[in-house]
């Protein structure tokens, strides 16, 4: 029987939860990196014991952690103690926590500033890694979406990082602006049928697609409408909170935008709204059932001013029709006095049958459903605020 491992990033450390395929009894290990923010942790699809974690701190900056044994032990994949930190020529060796924006002449001109909140130019400043996306085929290759928004890649297991500067440099970078939570690149989707095609999403810039492994990028935001922008249908500036795809149909994308749940059937070339009968179309997470590409999950949040569930009722909404028609899922979830939030990287699914669905809250609960959302159980309930949830199905 398969096991399930859930990687939980919180404001005060990482936790690893594990159960067998029945998903009834869970063990909890952690906190790992106690006291640090763990923005995200994710495992390699080809080597499930290879995990990467983003450990951050306002005091001490960014640290990348790696585990090669499924989260039992961790280390920084940089220069080992005792080894010189410079090359014989005096150049710094790569370090696992070093993210330096590309300032090469071919890119530098267009990468100097983005927009600040008041519309004035503001220099790019690295703050933290929001999201780590391991390659679908190579455990040593991993992508990092960072704040201020940019995409980095490591091809050596996290030891060194290089920016894929074509994203910031494709021409619209000077128009990107931070959302209230910062200007983060928070979603990286790799097309399993063509890994040179990837999608990234940035708050607040929009969705971008590459067809050549990250060298060239184009914005793919047609059909998005954001009333808070001077031009609501502009190509750039949309506060996309999350996008998701099903492995079997990578040209179909689902999006939870600041407001609006959206869908694209043509790899982002055009989007249409599928909010339908949701009680509110504001929210952060969105994910797709592991076996039913038209089954989608969101957690509606009241508004951008009130980041908690409407009416104090924590409800996951499921559409079995690819959007527009949504049903509330409430079994086992608090239906009164609940005022938590569910952040954008805090929902995931396993690949068992029936599909398991998981999400974490800012109140420290991680809820799991072993029946595709019909019934929910808090598998752990008193953690620090949850920033991210990822799930591994282990054979």
């Amino acid at each position: 029987m398969s096991d399930v491992r859930v990687l939980v990033g919180t404001r005060k450390g990482a936790f690893v939860l594990r159960a067998d395929g029945r998903r009834k009894t869970w063990s909890v290990s952690g906190p790992h990196f106690a006291g640090w923010e763990i923005f995200h942790a994710k495992g390699s699809p080809v080597d499930p014991n290879r995990l990467y974690a983003s450990q951050t701190s306002a005091w001490f900056g960014q640290v990348i952690q790696r585990s090669d044994d499924g989260g039992q032990t961790w280390y920084q994949p940089g220069t080992p103690p005792g080894e010189a930190t410079t090359t014989p020529e005096g150049s710094p060796r790569g370090e696992s926590s070093k993210f330096v924006y590309d300032t090469s002449p071919e890119n530098g001109k267009s990468l100097t500033t983005h927009q600040w909140y008041d519309g004035t130019p503001h220099p790019w400043e690295f703050k933290r890694v929001w999201h780590l996306e391991p390659s679908l085929t190579d455990p040593d290759m991993v992508y990092a979406g960072v704040e201020d928004a940019a995409l980095f890649r490591s091809a050596d297991g996290g030891k060194t990082w290089q920016e894929l500067a074509g994203l910031r440099g494709h021409g619209s970078g000077s128009q990107w602006a931070p959302g209230a939570g910062g200007m983060g690149l928070h979603t990286v989707l790799i097309d399993p049928e063509n890994q040179d095609r990837m999608f990234v999403a940035i708050s607040a810039a929009g969705v971008f697609r590459t067809e050549d492994g990250g060298r060239k990028w184009k914005p793919v935001n047609r059909g998005l409408h954001s009333g808070y922008m001077p031009d609501p249908t502009a190509e750039i500036g949309h506060c996309v909170h999350r996008i998701a795809m099903h492995r079997s149909r990578p040209q179909v994308l689902f999006m939870q935008k600041h407001w609006d749940v959206m869908r694209s059937d043509d790899a982002g070339e055009s989007w249409r709204e599928v909010s339908g009968n949701l009680p509110t179309d504001f929210g952060f997470v969105i994910d797709v059932h592991a076996h039913e590409p038209e089954t989608v999950y969101v957690v509606p949040i009241k508004s951008d001013s009130e980041h908690f569930p409407p009416e104090g009722k924590l409800r996951v909404y499921r559409s079995r029709t690819g959007g527009n028609e949504w049903e509330p899922l409430t079994g086992g979830l608090p239906q009164r006095d609940c005022y938590v939030n569910v952040l954008r990287d805090a929902m995931a699914v396993d690949s068992l049958d029936p599909c398991g669905v998981y999400f974490g809250t800012t109140g420290g609960q991680v809820y799991a459903s072993a029946d595709a959302g019909d019934n929910w159980t808090p598998i752990v309930r008193d953690l620090p605020a949850v920033l991210s949830v990822e799930v591994q199905t282990l054979s």
Binding site: A34, F60, T79, K98
Partner: protein
């Protein structure tokens, strides 16, 4: 041999307990001390001073011989009791946050 007192989280990162003892080549300054510290504990690179600018992180301060050295030039010689190891160099994080 000089001694450095690190904040809790950096001791955990470096996997050390208590003070860190280091040999520093040449004049003992903030810069030469941090260079030696990072050479011995590469996992601390970027955590005390920025990777690129090499400036002190804003929520950290340096204290030596009961004086705040946070704003002193990085190449200024540290006080003799610190340079000789009689007193530690203190690296202290701001007390803030939840």
């Amino acid at each position: 041999m000089i001694r450095i007192v690190l904040p809790h989280h950096l001791r955990v990162l470096a996997r050390v307990e208590g003070d860190v003892g280091l040999e520093v080549k040449g004049p003992v300054t903030i810069r030469s001390t941090l260079d030696s510290l990072e050479a011995r504990y590469p996992m601390l690179r970027g955590t005390i001073r920025d990777h690129v600018t090499q400036e002190r992180r804003p929520f950290l301060r340096f204290f030596a011989h009961d004086e705040d050295w946070s704003q002193q030039p990085m190449d200024a010689p540290l006080p003799e009791p610190v340079a000789l190891g009689a007193e530690p160099l203190l690296i202290i994080g701001a007390i803030a946050g939840g």
